[in-house]
Structures are given as structure tokens and as C-alpha cells.
């Protein structure tokens, strides 16, 4: 574990050099403890794979005092302290090549029938390591090893929001139209980021996610309800 200054207003608390559930669990546990104890001078925190970025107000707490206060919390920073996580169900339409436009090529690349790729991807449970890059975009793992796949050689410039995609060991759902280097297998009609909603961002760090397989007709029905603001995602 080490403290790395990120300018005059932030410090990065780095737990390791790898992407693992264990390390990310410690990152989120430390964040939770900092929130619970309301450490003086802390403005906000951003968890990522293996580091917690802590933003502070140096007028209220010095760098050394902050690092000391965080160090004191470290022994308790295990997933045992975290509250139970939520399970969020995202309906996903894989079957329409208009939505899951990389499904066939990704399946070929993995030497799998497309149906088997869908079964493997749709059957897994995913953990949201953190939210980042664009508003509401979840960085998730939990994919079966059989469908780990190198990222696209040439990232596309525009990926539609809702695109359910895989790259490396990770799965993500694009939250706004953005560039992207992941293979798009399907699309969810649910909005992960909706600036006009009372709570614009759906997912939180630590959530578990399941994809519920739907056909195009169901996709269109849910989309119509989402657009009419008459759809509530299933959160358990």
C-alpha cells in the first residue's frame, strides 16, 4: 500500500498493481470507512480497480495528517465491513445484429457458436468494480474465462448508449455515446445515465449485475416504457 500525491487537492491510496476482486474489495471498504467516519477535510472519493482517490481540502487537513488518518483505517478495510450489495437486473437483447453488432465476429474470434457466447455471457453474474470514464459507466468483471477476448485493434469512434460489451476480462455497458474498444454483444434498453432523472446514475460501485435475455420485441416494449419514464429497473 502506498500514498501517491495527485496535486495539492488529492491523494491516491494505491493497494497493488493488479485487477482482482480482493484488492478492489479493499479499495471499496476503505472508501466506505472514510464515509462512515466522515474523516475531516475529505471532500469526495473515487474508487477504481486498485486505488482510492481521496480529494481533500488542505485548508482543513494537511497531507500527512490525512495519510495518518487513512493508515489507521487500513486494518479494518476488508469487504467484511461493506453493507450487502445490490443485485441489478439489466434486460439485454443479444439477438438483433442492429443492437449486438459485434456478436457474430466476437463469436468467430472465440471459435464459439454465437448462441454459446450469449449463453456464457448472459449466464454470469458481474461485479461493478467502479463507475468511471463517462457518467454512470460500470467497469465489471465476472465473465467466464472462455469468453475473455482482446480489445478491438481499432477502437470505434461512436458506441451507442446501452451497448453491452466485452474486452479483455471485463464487461461494460456504455452509458453515453462515446468512443470504445470493446466488442458489442447486445444492448439494454435501460439507461445507465439519464441527466433528466432524479437519480441520473443507475449503478454504484459494488453492485452485482445480471443480464436478463430479451428478444427485440421485448426490447422495444421496455424502451418505450423507459422513454415514457414508466420503467423501473429491477434492483434487489
Amino acid at each position: 500500500m502506498r500514498f501517491l500525491p495527485a496535486g495539492d487537492l488529492a491523494v491516491s491510496v494505491e493497494f497493488g498493481e493488479e485487477i482482482s476482486i480482493e484488492i478492489n474489495g479493499r479499495v471499496r471498504a476503505l472508501e466506505y470507512l472514510i464515509q462512515q467516519k466522515a474523516l475531516p477535510g475529505v471532500v469526495e472519493t473515487v474508487p477504481t480497480f486498485r486505488a482510492l482517490q481521496v480529494y481533500y481540502d488542505p485548508r482543513e487537513v494537511g497531507y500527512d495528517a490525512l495519510c495518518a488518518a487513512i493508515t489507521e483505517l487500513l486494518p479494518q478495510a476488508t469487504t467484511a465491513v461493506l453493507p450487502p450489495s445490490r443485485l441489478v437486473e439489466l434486460p439485454c437483447c443479444y439477438e438483433d445484429p442492429e443492437l449486438g453488432f459485434d456478436l457474430e465476429v466476437a463469436a468467430q474470434r472465440l471459435s464459439l457458436p454465437a448462441g454459446e457466447l450469449v449463453r456464457l455471457h448472459g449466464g454470469a453474474e458481474y461485479l461493478v468494480y467502479f463507475i468511471g470514464f463517462t457518467p454512470g459507466l460500470p467497469y465489471m468483471t465476472g465473465m467466464p474465462e472462455r469468453i475473455h477476448i482482446p480489445r478491438l485493434e481499432t477502437p470505434r469512434t461512436k458506441t451507442p448508449p446501452g451497448s453491452v460489451s466485452i474486452g479483455g476480462t471485463q464487461c461494460c455497458v456504455y452509458s453515453v455515446e462515446s468512443p470504445g474498444g470493446f466488442w458489442v454483444l447486445g444492448r439494454t434498453p435501460v439507461r445507465l445515465y439519464d441527466p433528466d432523472a432524479a437519480e441520473p446514475v443507475l449503478l454504484r460501485p459494488g453492485d452485482r449485475v445480471r443480464f436478463n435475455r430479451i428478444d427485440r420485441a421485448e426490447y422495444d416494449r421496455i424502451l418505450a416504457r423507459v422513454e415514457a419514464r414508466a420503467y423501473t429497473p429491477v434492483v434487489a
Partner: protein
């Protein structure tokens, strides 16, 4: 109420910023030049974080529909009221029908217009700041357009004041930006760090509120330019594979996977944000302790710089 007659290329509502949402991928936004923004608000008697306008390279033209006080600060944009020159960095009392115009910036990039009472747009996640990429806050999450009408919160007429000449920032020349090295300074060669701290870097036109792109001597990596994605602070100097630095600003992405060689201190964000395309900047390393001392000096530089004007 004011009515926009001509919005200029990018005029947005900004306030003190949207804090606490970075863990959901939503940046703070707020003004790029906090010094000019705070003084504009103080000149009209507002709290430091009241909602005001930030305009970019060319200011807006607007008509006053109810008497109000305004103050214009920041980039050197010629200011006129009803076609007659008016002072910047000073309280101006306006009456119904007055037309205010800010022209092309002669130095600096971002101008600020504060109104007594502050702009009354809806609070979104605790802030009125506009985040353009996320279509959030301000006026429908977008830059202002012709015929937009903005309401002002009620306020008493402020005492007219102006900022003393000695306190006015100089946006020209080749500013030196103070940086704290790291978090990934160890991923760069000695020559790479030497280039960063010993050369000047030119601001490129592709710069915006998300980041300032710079061009200059290569900042070379030791072993690759990718890291496991982690947090990006305001001022983070990200260096992708081409060795050219990008200084991330108030509308930055919350996380990223490029190495960050250093972080521009908060009190110098305004100076990079006011550097025009083609203008050069330099970097100087300071310790965290020095940075905090300089931050206190910056806080102090905002005090005692306004003088009462005899009306």
C-alpha cells in the same frame, strides 16, 4: 431577467461546482478560472459560488429586461453597454433595455459575467454548473443560444466596487505552472521528466473544458504508457504513447488508463485555462507542502483587492 441576443461560441452557466458525484463518473465542472469567477461574484455582492456565465474566446451580447448589477472579469474581452465602452473588473448598474456586449478576447480565453443575485437555473445534483458532455445542469445541459432568457435570483443593489489594477491577472506571456510530480512520475525516463520541467509546451486548439492539449518535447516513458485505470484529478498531466501532455480540467473524465506524470496545482488551473492556442506554458515542480503554502497565498490574493467606487 436577461435575454441572449448572441450567445458567442460557448457560453455556459457555471457555479462553484458539483461535488460528490465524481464516484459516479460526473465531474465537478464549475469555472476554469476560479480567481476571475470569484471576484466577479464578489463585485456584485454574491457568495463566491453563485451561478454566473463563463464565455469562451468571444463573449455574448444580451439585453437587460429588469434592472440589475453585473460584473465582467476574466479574459480581456472588450466590454460595451449600449455601444459605449464600459469597465471590466467593476460593478456596473444596468437598467431595463441596456444591451451589453463582450467582444473577442485580446488575451486570455475565458470571460465571466456575474449578476447580482446569481442566475436562477434549476439545481441538478446540488449544483447549477453546466456539464456539456453529460448534458447536465445550467440551461438544459447545453451552451446558451440566441433568445434564451435567464432569470436572476432577487438581490439588493451591491455597493459599486472595482478590483485594483495591481491585482489584475496577466493572461499573456509564457506562464509557469506549478506541479506536484506523480502519481506515476516513476513511469517516465529522467530525460522525459527533464523535458517536462525544462521546456516550453504550446497549447493546441483542440483544448476545451475537459482538457488542455499541449505540444512540445517528448515526455518519454520507461515501460509503456498504460496503467490500470485509476482516478484523474483536476490538473492531472496525462501522457499517452505519443509523449505529448494533456492537462485535465474541470469537465475531465473521472478515471483513465494513461500514465500521469504530474498534477498542475489547483491555483494554476486558471493560468493554463486562460492560455490561448499557440501560447506556451512551462512547468515547475513543487512539493505538496509548498503547494499548500502557495494555495494559502492564492486564497489571500483574493482578499483586500476591491476598492469602493464613489458613485
Amino acid at each position: 431577467m436577461i435575454r441572449i441576443l448572441d450567445a458567442g461560441p460557448q457560453t455556459t452557466v457555471q457555479d462553484g461546482g458539483r461535488l460528490g458525484q465524481l464516484r459516479y463518473g460526473i465531474p465537478p465542472s464549475g469555472p476554469v478560472d476560479r480567481f476571475a469567477f470569484v471576484l466577479a461574484n464578489r463585485l456584485v455582492g454574491n457568495p463566491d459560488g453563485a451561478a454566473a456565465l463563463e464565455c469562451t474566446l468571444v463573449g455574448p451580447r444580451f439585453e437587460v429586461e429588469a434592472a440589475c448589477a453585473v460584473a465582467v472579469t476574466g479574459a480581456d474581452m472588450p466590454l460595451s453597454v449600449n455601444g459605449k465602452d464600459a469597465p471590466r473588473w467593476a460593478t456596473l448598474a444596468l437598467k431595463v433595455g441596456d444591451v451589453v456586449k463582450l467582444g473577442h478576447a485580446r488575451s486570455g480565453v475565458r470571460g465571466y459575467i456575474a449578476f447580482a443575485g446569481g442566475l436562477d437555473v434549476p439545481l441538478v445534483m446540488g449544483s447549477r454548473a453546466t456539464y456539456l458532455r453529460g448534458r447536465l445542469g445550467g440551461v438544459e445541459g447545453r451552451a446558451l443560444r440566441k433568445d434564451d432568457r435567464l432569470r436572476l435570483a432577487p438581490a439588493a443593489a451591491p455597493r459599486p466596487r472595482r478590483v485594483e489594477r495591481r491585482a489584475l491577472p496577466d493572461y499573456g506571456g509564457e506562464p509557469t505552472l506549478r506541479v506536484v510530480l506523480g502519481p506515476q512520475a516513476d513511469r517516465f525516463t529522467k530525460e522525459g521528466l527533464g523535458a517536462l520541467l525544462g521546456s516550453s509546451y504550446e497549447v493546441l486548439p483542440q483544448s476545451d473544458r475537459m482538457g488542455a492539449r499541449l505540444r512540445g518535447p517528448r515526455i518519454a516513458h520507461t515501460r509503456g504508457h498504460d496503467i490500470i485505470s485509476d482516478g484523474i484529478a483536476v490538473g492531472s498531466i496525462q501522457v499517452p504513447g505519443d509523449g505529448q501532455p494533456i492537462v485535465l480540467l474541470v469537465d475531465r473524465q473521472s478515471t483513465g488508463g494513461y500514465t500521469k506524470v504530474a498534477t498542475v496545482c489547483s491555483f494554476d488551473i486558471a493560468r493554463i485555462g486562460q492560455a490561448r492556442p499557440g501560447q506556451a506554458v512551462r512547468f515547475r515542480a513543487v512539493t505538496v507542502d509548498e503547494a499548500h503554502r502557495l494555495l494559502r497565498e492564492w486564497d489571500a490574493s483574493l482578499e483586500g483587492v476591491m476598492r469602493e467606487e464613489s458613485a
